[in-house]
Symmetry: C2
Subunit: 280 residues, 2 copies
């Protein structure tokens, strides 16, 4: 009996938040004052019907919207929106092949339709998502308009892939869709290669991703200069001891700087690693 | 849209292990050297198909066996066997009524059959469960024999309720089946009444349950004298400050004393509270 693709995705959501230290994120050892550990547990439980739908072959947009609705209903905040946007096509790819690959995931995103885009916009009505302002000529397609933007999506005939990748390269999640999940699969390879306890490998992988590129969520909330300084500091700490990383994690939480996009990619990488047989 | 009975049960499993301090248990802040936090997350994910089956009205024994098989496969240890034995009939009761009640739960356990008992014995083949030796005249019904005991179960015509309640009053989980979930619902009432953050209420409820009766799992592993001393210490600490309870929690983990039965009842109480509308 397979352990189940939807279960792998749900466990990836849980392991991501349980790993520590993940500087700036809610983790096993840290809450933000307005976002707590148990909300991520609740979000992972609420998302399950959407994950199940994706594993059963539902359209990406529909499965994603179901996952976000359930997450928001249980967590009462946006805990895992970006992670679900990465997991949904990866689940579809994993469910239809012996092994999830970049090619299979790209096939899924490239096959998305206008109806998928419509469902994606509906997902924004369930929760507040921190995104950067779109260019002026795309204001009618601002995702934060939710269902109000659907006529514009339909009249332009935009697929979900077109809508999501319009955010690349300023949004790390969008960039994964555009690049065929390059960083996700690179990070998954490092998770598969390690021998430490899985939460420790996840925390190290998060730090490596954070050192590699400025976090999109931090950039949207605090500006690109702050995001770049966070990246530089992560790069300087990649080989640091646990206490030093812990101290920086505490500092980022105190400052309200949460590299959520990097956590989303980490979660997607954990899913790929689990689907390849990595175990707790 | 209902948040879902199976989701409430899964979230109860997660919130129970996330609450801290729960003296002697694996919790958000503590691992046992041979049992780690992430194994409980994996167990809760693996159990989900069994929880879904119970919510859909599957027989109690079949749903329980499915839940235990999935838990053991993902967690690679027995993380939540007792909790699942409490949750399964409670899920069935919650799914068939507007509100889960002791009467509805008792109806479910009293309606269990010999086939349910057979599935229950099969569940023991998936994982090692720490239980006390049965009386000599019941040796052929020792649950640790797993499927080997099925002919004895069938020839005696024992229902699941008869098998489980044979363990009362030495086993706290069995006692819940025998009493109509008395302590579960009392603890749920206290969870519903509190105003602190839910994990904090769960930790306090655990301590209250631990102070109330010797833990069956501790008694089976370390003897009834140790279980009684743990109960007395919990009673003395019910109004203690966090640091004092934390220190005792560390001590119990160091000594390998894990009040798992009390955690099982706590998990069941969290489920009842969630089904009554308590939120994270």
């Amino acid at each position: 009996m397979t352990r189940g693709v939807a279960g792998d995705a749900q466990l990836a959501l849980l392991l991501d938040v349980a790993a520590a230290p993940k500087p700036g994120n809610v983790d096993r050892e840290r809450d933000h004052h307005d976002l707590r550990f148990e909300q991520f547990l609740a979000g992972a439980v609420g998302a399950r019907p959407g994950l199940d739908a994706a594993a059963a072959g539902a359209p990406v947009g529909e499965a994603f919207e179901t996952a976000v609705a359930g997450m928001a209903e249980r967590a009462r905040d946006n805990t895992q929106f970006g992670a679900l946007l990465l997991l949904t096509p990866l689940i579809r790819a994993a469910a239809s092949a012996d092994e999830v690959t970049r090619a299979a995931a790209t096939d899924v995103t490239e096959a998305t339709t206008v109806d998928d885009a419509v469902q994606f916009y509906r997902a924004f009505d369930h929760t507040d998502v921190g995104v950067a302002d779109p260019p002026a000529e795309l204001a009618d397609l601002d995702v934060r308009r939710g269902a109000d933007a659907i006529p514009a999506v339909r009249s332009r005939g935009l697929t979900l892939s077109a809508v999501v990748t319009a955010g690349a390269p300023t949004d790390g999640v969008a960039d994964e869709w555009a690049s065929g999940f390059e960083r996700t699969f690179d990070a998954a390879a490092s998770l598969c290669a390690g021998t430490a306890a899985l939460p420790e490998r996840i925390a190290r992988t998060f730090l490596g991703l954070l050192a590699e590129a400025p976090d999109g969520h931090v950039a949207a909330r605090h500006g690109s200069a702050v995001a770049e300084r966070v990246r530089e500091r992560a790069a300087a700490l990649e080989d640091a001891d646990r206490a030093t990383i812990d101290a920086w994690a505490d500092e980022l939480v105190d400052r309200g700087i949460n590299p959520g996009t990097t956590a989303d990619i980490t979660t997607a990488a954990v899913f790929v690693a689990l689907s390849r047989g990595v175990r707790v």
